[in-house]
Symmetry: C2
Subunit: 344 residues, 2 copies
DNA sequence: GTGAAAGCGCTAACAA
DNA sequence: TTGTTAGCGCTTTCAC
């Protein structure tokens, strides 16, 4: 790869590298003629500065690292699109890593990105992460980090989340108002922020409508629906309760489609036998059988806001920064999967 | 970010940086005692070599660049998973960029990745790319590139594709055998390899079964279904033909779901009025209404094979390398969207 | 067995 | 206005 360097230009033009460097950066101290000479030559030779050299020099890279649980997921891929659209315009590159919900991989990815000198980190926690020191240490060292979606409670920084409480409340309320009495909740591991927030919204709605909360109607899936058997077992358990639920509110993409698959396989009619509302950004909710009532998160916008906050943090580091947690509205779209009374 | 360097270790241990460097790389010429001393200290201080410095030194980065049209797409996100799984195990990092099917962004991404010194490139062409010199130049300079899925005809290198011809043939054949007479084909821009291959399979099946090929039954969507109106217009045109099709074979994820959405909106009954088979890796084909007959590509495996080929190319550069094009089998899964005779 | 020095590409403090 | 030099972190000749 014989790429051209500043040195080559200097040699060709009989100048010093520093002169060339300054000319290229359009420094005021360089003679306009020299500048022109250098710039034209550089242009002609298709000179591109070596970002690695730059990074080595000042430990900056004009790139930000993104660590998310997985890419093959509507919510996260939309998130990425939001992040990229803004980052790109602001001159930053985005490096994406998947934790696959593993703590070890999250740590490994973090270390790698840091060693690669990313200027900041955008993180949605792995579901199996409970220990946060790898992030805390970095923040103490001054690395800007913004969390989104799955955020930690005990780290002080900018955070961008969906209004999970409200979204969950509305979903549950909708089921109640549609006449459902025994509403189950299928959700992610309990130590995720999204889990507790969604659970709280669910509980509050039940409470507000005078429906007693029943612990046996809530199932936590450690692998968030990625392991079919786990999903299936949880649903099975619910259906075998003395009083099986007549509605289910699922807390994520995977849990929702997994749940519908189970119903289909078992020949359980939706919404006749059981209604379902999913907290999901699946793009084909309309086309499902039956069309799926969803709580959609503004994924794209969440990504955009998070990256804006991060870049602000990167470019204007302030010790006394007021950190904010932005909570964006979700959107309940009612479709056939949750309306229609159970046939008794 | 006060990360520890070799210099720090040298100073602390009263050694030279070269000794420390050699000790860390377990060089034979270093005294075992010194080695132990250095290694233990490094371990204790949590020393991590700076990959940027290494990259600068020998223009290698142990990372590979991936350029794909988009992430928010089942096929491509599975592809990425395949790539990452292998790359990770072989000690390579994966940097992903989206071209969003724009030629300019593809070029920009390529340039950036090269300047970042990726050791090789994995590319699925943007649908609007016709000019390939940006890749050709790099290959001439010795940068290994492997193409997958959307591959160029006129570049000699490893390629990994699905057996588009066969997949397409089988889909069309299936529709014919189900009694369909007027089979339309909704597809991507004509200058993509996948388009011509799929078109060829479609034509061959028609031919083999004695059905005349009718150009007006084929529509090319320049934006591959990402622009709703385009999609809709194409379908509209078909439906308004004197003899509208009784089946449609769609060539991609987006085109397929877009098509189903149009049918739903217009109240066109599938498969009664029109059958549909999609070339798609959508994960919820089973849950759609009606369940969708699909030709699935082995996306994960395609990613794995491509990255294997690429890494082989990187680690054993051979001038006289025999390049291979691997063609992986697709899988036709028949569901309700294509079976059942049109109600006359 | 260990150290000094050069170099990867670039910038910036200091000289001229 | 331009050049010299040092340094970012690391490896690698070449000396000792």
């Amino acid at each position: 790869m014989e790429t051209i360097t500043i040195k080559d230009i200097a040699k060709a033009l009989n100048l010093s590298t520093s002169t060339v460097s300054r000319a290229l950066r359009n420094s005021y101290e360089i003679n306009p003629e020299t500048k022109k000479l250098v710039m034209e030559y550089a242009e002609r030779m298709n000179y591109r500065p070596n970002p690695i050299a730059l990074s080595l020099k000042d430990s900056k890279s004009k790139s930000i690292g993104v660590i998310i649980p997985e890419i093959a997921n509507h919510f996260f891929s939309q998130l990425i699109n939001g992040i990229e659209s803004i980052a790109y315009n602001l001159g930053y590159h985005v490096v994406i890593f998947q934790s696959h919900d593993s703590y070890e991989r999250e740590v490994a990815n973090t270390n790698y990105l840091v060693s690669r000198r990313v200027d900041g980190l955008l993180v949605s926690l792995a579901s199996l992460t409970t220990n946060l020191i790898h992030f805390q240490e970095l923040m103490e060292k001054g690395l800007p980090i913004v969390f989104l979606d799955r955020v930690p409670n005990d780290i002080e920084t900018h955070k961008v989340v969906a209004d999970n409480f409200r979204g969950s409340y509305e979903a549950t309320e909708h089921l109640i108002l549609s006449g459902r009495k025994r509403i189950a909740h299928l959700t992610s591991p309990i130590y995720l922020s999204i889990t507790t927030e969604r659970l709280a919204g669910y509980k509050k709605a039940l409470e507000d409508y005078g429906i007693p909360f029943d612990e046996s109607y809530v199932k936590y899936c450690l692998y968030g629906g990625k392991i079919k058997a786990e999903n299936e077992a949880a649903i099975e358990e619910m259906l075998n309760l003395p009083e099986p639920p007549d509605a289910i509110f699922t807390a994520s993409d995977r849990l929702t489609t997994g749940c519908m698959a189970v119903f289909q396989r078992k020949g359980i009619r939706v919404p006749d036998e059981i209604a379902i509302v999913g907290f999901t950004n699946i793009s084909v909710a309309d086309l499902l059988n039956p069309p799926l009532t969803t709580v959609m998160q503004p994924a794209m916008e969440m990504g955009q806001q998070a990256v804006e906050l991060l870049i602000r943090l990167i470019e204007h580091p302030q010790k006394d920064e007021k950190f904010e947690t932005r909570s964006l509205k979700t959107a309940l779209t009612i479709r056939a999967s949750s309306v229609g009374k159970t046939v008794v």
